[in-house]
């Protein structure tokens, strides 16, 4: 029950925030070809960097939850603060470039309602897996081992994220070419 509530504390704010991101992205995506080109440049550039382990920093905010926000709070309030801050994956440090491709892809949806719906689904997926990761870390890893294990795993996830970005870059290139073919 506590685990379910903890996961909900991540998923619900993430769904709400990504729903709004979906709406805003759709409003900004009035120029679909420009958004497609921007998405392709981003996916290709960071996909190459992450897959080949080139020294490029993914765009990310560096904000962290201040310690005094969670100190001397009940477990429920702490979970809510962590969930709202970490669930959406946008405002705290994120080493994976894939996260910022999502708003660009959201802009490609045909209407506001679909964009908001896809945004909510993205929020549920991100917040849910983020919370499950935290729960897994808490239950499986001793505190002394955690940092070493985490650092060891990060390169694997960056590699996978890079491959996902390159898959997207290939797909976007095919779609852009098909659109240009239709216009010519």
């Amino acid at each position: 029950m506590r685990v379910a509530l903890y996961i909900a504390a991540y998923v619900l704010p993430a769904a709400a925030i990504w729903g709004v991101v979906g709406l805003v992205s759709r409003l900004l995506g009035a120029m679909p070809v420009f958004m497609l080109l921007l998405a392709w440049v981003y996916a290709f550039g960071f996909g190459v960097c992450e897959t080949l382990a080139l020294p490029a920093q993914a765009p990310s905010l560096t904000w962290q939850v201040p310690a005094h926000w969670v100190e001397k709070r009940s477990a429920t309030v702490q979970s809510l603060i962590w969930g709202v801050s970490l669930g959406p994956g946008l405002i705290t440090r994120n080493p994976y470039a894939g996260i910022w491709l999502l708003p660009l892809l959201l802009a490609l949806n045909q209407n506001l309602l679909i964009a908001a719906g896809v945004g909510i689904a993205i929020g549920i997926a991100h917040g849910g897996t983020r919370a499950l990761g935290v729960v897994r870390n808490r239950t499986c890893i001793e505190a002394t081992q955690a940092h070493l294990l985490i650092l060891g795993e990060q390169w694997r996830w960056k590699y996978l994220d890079g491959l996902a970005l390159l898959l997207a870059a290939g797909a976007l290139a095919a779609y852009i070419l098909s659109l240009l073919g239709n216009h010519l």
Binding site: G98, L167, S178
Partner: protein
């Protein structure tokens, strides 16, 4: 052993090039039968899940 193999420079180049081509060819085929936005939606949700799960490896 697999990890050591994947970290080799030439394997990384090969996998990067291969996945780029796979994305291109799959989408060319997909455009005949389905819409790009449907595929982009499924991909976006999967990528969000991947990044969320990967954050457990974020210090």
């Amino acid at each position: 052993m697999l990890e050591a193999w994947v970290t080799q420079r030439q394997v990384r180049f090969l996998s990067a090039g291969s996945i780029l081509i796979v994305g291109f060819v799959m989408t060319r085929q997909l455009l005949h039968t389905s819409s790009f936005t449907t595929a982009a939606t499924i991909f976006s949700i999967s990528l969000a899940a991947l990044v969320g799960a990967g954050k457990l490896a974020s210090p």
